[in-house]
C-alpha cells in the first residue's frame, strides 16, 4: 500500500532515568537518530520540566521526531514520522532505544496519507 508517510509510535519502558531526564542528552540523541535514519534536520525545540521530564521535537525535511519522557516511571514515548523512500524510521528507533538504555520497547507503524492517487509521490517529481 502506497502512502505519503510512515509513522512509528514507540513506547520505551524501564529506560535509564538519568538519560531521559537530561535535556541535552535527549536533544543530541534525537538529532543523531534523525541523521542515522538518513533525514535532514531543519528545526528543533526541547524543554526540561520541573521536577523532571523532557519534551522535544526535531523537524526534518521528511516530517518529524518527537519525545516525551517520564523519568519517574522510566518511560518515554517516541514518534518517528518520515516521508519518502530514502529515510528509514526504524533505524532512528533502534538507535534511541539503545541510547536510553531501554529494557522493554514496543513499536507500532502507522501509514499516513494513504491516498487513492496513481503514482503518489512525497515530493513533486521526487
Amino acid at each position: 500500500m502506497k502512502s505519503l508517510g510512515k509513522h512509528l509510535l514507540a513506547e520505551y519502558y524501564r529506560c535509564d532515568e538519568n538519560a531521559i531526564n537530561d535535556v541535552q542528552k535527549v536533544e543530541n540523541a534525537l538529532v543523531k537518530a534523525a541523521e542515522i535514519a538518513g533525514a535532514t534536520v531543519i528545526g528543533k525545540s526541547f524543554h526540561r520540566f520541573e521536577p523532571y521530564g523532557v519534551s522535544g521535537v526535531v523537524v526534518i525535511s521528511e516530517s518529524h521526531l518527537t519525545i516525551h519522557t517520564w523519568p519517574e516511571y522510566g518511560f518515554a514515548a517516541v514518534d518517528v514520522f518520515t516521508c519518502g523512500d530514502h529515510v528509514d524510521p526504524m533505524k532512528a528507533h533502534e538507535y534511541l532505544k539503545e541510547v536510553f538504555g531501554t529494557q522493554n520497547a514496543t513499536v507500532e507503524t502507522i501509514l499516513r496519507g494513504v491516498l487513492n492517487i496513481p503514482d503518489l509521490r512525497h515530493k513533486p517529481g521526487g
Copy 2:
C-alpha cells in the same frame, strides 16, 4: 484504562489548498488549536517547502501538536498528543479540521504510556 497521554492521529482530505500551503496561517492555526484544547504553548518550529507544503510542530506543556501538508493533494496529517486531564485534544482537531476547510477527515486515538502503576499521574502530585 489509565494512560499518561492521549494521541490523536488525524488525516484531513480535500482541504483548502491555499490554507494548508500558507506557513503563517498554518502556524497560527496550530497555536490557536493548542489554546482551544486548553494547552500551554512553550515552543514551535514551522517550515515552508518549495514548491509547496508546510511542516510544523508546537510543543506544549502537555506534549505536542504537529502538521505536515501536501497542498498538491489537498491533504494534511495532524497529530495532537496531550497529557493530563485538563486538555482536550479533540477540540484542537475539530478546530483545525474547520480552519483548513477539510471535506473529509479521519481521526484515531491511541493511548500512550499505559503503565501498570497504581495511581498513575502525568505530573508529580498532579
